[in-house]
């Protein structure tokens, strides 16, 4: 693609994305939402960004389900929009990143088929923002066995990994091997396609993804270290990050103190300082994971400020939008379960 077209396109896409980012719910909105009941939340959402989706789905669902499906559909709409805005290299990179919804959908379908959830229920839970076509997704939801799902996915990026993991699944009858295979296929594809000598914008994209992979590894490592379970950490290791080597991770997961010390001296040390302090003080993993999410968002935002005409604002928007959807869902589900406002507020990640 012609470079002049590309630079102008970056301006166009980032301007649109920044306006949308600014329109996301802010702290005040969350404070209001936390005080509402599920019915009020639904009414509040009808007056915002989510109006179209709430109205479209209102006749089929109600209560918290309605909120959740409206959130998913809105998310898919916005991310599809991003692809229509972008061209050239930017398009390629966004599309590759949005494959994470393919991974999400495949997992949802496998879980749905495993629990005999029924076609409509599975279809409602899908987020149609990835690269899979609607026909493929519909065909997948019609599957009656996991074997059928795996077969139909044989031509996609998940094909080889799923086929390899299928025998494990047959032996143990748990979904963990399949879900791990999906995650790994997704991340290896994400960095695998990148050309040998990436251009400047693509280098930035790789940097962002590395951060995401590193943060995921940190989370997995801490969970393993805390649980003390005798699990081989390398089974959960996602390669492609810059922070850990597979062998290092194995040593570090045996000792939480050692791991936090290692993180403090890593390149993310200053970004993660708050999160690590919180971990040492509160000694709670939930707090730490929340702080980790926040740190990732802040890291992406810092890169956005440094490289304003790049893919960074787009990825920052995608992550922020996902957080918003997660937050609203947490509020609605929390209210439904009868949690208090303070308890829910602790779960929110607000940037």
């Amino acid at each position: 693609m012609n470079t002049t077209v590309d630079t102008a396109n970056y301006g166009y896409v980032t301007a649109r994305v920044r306006v949308r980012r600014a329109a996301l719910f802010d702290e005040d909105d969350y404070r209001k939402l936390v005080r509402m009941g599920p019915g009020e939340i639904a009414r509040f959402m009808e007056e915002t960004e989510y109006e179209t989706e709430m109205n479209a789905l209102g006749s089929r669902h109600d209560g918290v389900d309605l909120i959740e499906y409206a959130l998913n559909r809105n998310l898919a709409k916005h991310f599809d929009d991003l692809l229509t805005f972008a061209g050239g290299e930017l398009y390629e990179n966004i599309a590759r990143y949005l494959r994470k919804f393919d991974a999400w959908n495949v997992k949802t379908i496998i879980r749905g088929v495993y629990t005999d959830a029924g076609q409509q229920t599975i279809a409602d839970d899908l987020i149609r923002a990835g690269a899979f076509s609607d026909e493929l997704l519909d065909r997948l939801t019609e599957s009656t066995s996991i074997e059928m799902v795996v077969e139909q996915l044989s031509n996609t990026i998940f094909g080889p990994a799923l086929e390899a993991a299928y025998s494990d699944y047959e032996e143990t009858d748990v979904l963990v091997p399949l879900e791990n295979a999906i995650d790994r296929a997704f991340y290896s594809e994400l960095l695998g396609d990148v050309p040998e000598n990436p251009s400047e914008p693509t280098k930035l994209y790789v940097q962002l993804l590395r951060a995401e992979i590193d943060f995921r590894n940190i989370r997995n490592a801490l969970r393993l270290a805390r649980s003390g379970a005798d699990i081989d950490p390398s089974e959960y290791f996602i390669s492609g990050g810059q922070l850990f080597e597979e062998s290092e991770l194995e040593q570090l997961t045996t000792n939480v103190g050692q791991l936090t010390e290692y993180l403090r001296h890593s390149s993310y040390g200053s970004d993660l300082e708050g999160a690590l302090d919180e971990l040492e003080e509160a000694d709670s993993l939930i707090e730490f994971e929340r702080a980790l999410d926040q740190a990732l968002l802040e890291y992406t935002d810092a890169l956005t400020n440094r490289h304003h005409l790049s893919i960074c604002p787009v990825i920052a928007y995608i992550r922020a939008k996902e957080r918003e959807v997660d937050n609203i869902r947490a509020i609605a589900r929390g209210k439904e379960a009868g949690l208090t406002g303070e308890q829910i507020e602790e779960e929110l990640v607000i940037v």
Binding site: T4, T7, A8, N9, Y10, G11, Y12, V13, T14, A15, R16, R18, V19, R20, A23, F85, L309
Partner: protein, 86 residues
């Protein structure tokens, strides 16, 4: 490409005029043209970003147009040079 053309043009001017490499009026015209090209180049990405912002929020129209035409000032400076020479 543009540079080569300009160089060829300048060579031709030197041959024609004999003494001054470029006559003042021609120099002013070249300056004006280059200023306009520069403004166009700058407006290209500002314009596309402005259209993006306006598409999301109509209220941005005023700011969008204002920011898009700011590089236009360079062209006015180019024009000022032309008037100074006359």
């Amino acid at each position: 490409m543009e540079l080569q053309l300009t160089a060829a043009f300048l060579n031709a001017m030197v041959l024609q005029a004999g003494q001054a490499a470029i006559p003042p009026a021609t120099g002013a015209a070249i300056g004006f043209g280059l200023a306009a090209i520069g403004a166009g180049y700058a407006e290209r990405s500002i314009g596309s970003a402005a259209v993006g912002a306006i598409a999301e929020d109509r209220g941005m129209l005023g700011y969008g147009v204002l920011l898009t035409v700011i590089p236009e000032t360079i062209v006015i400076f180019g024009l000022v040079v032309v008037f100074l020479l006359q």
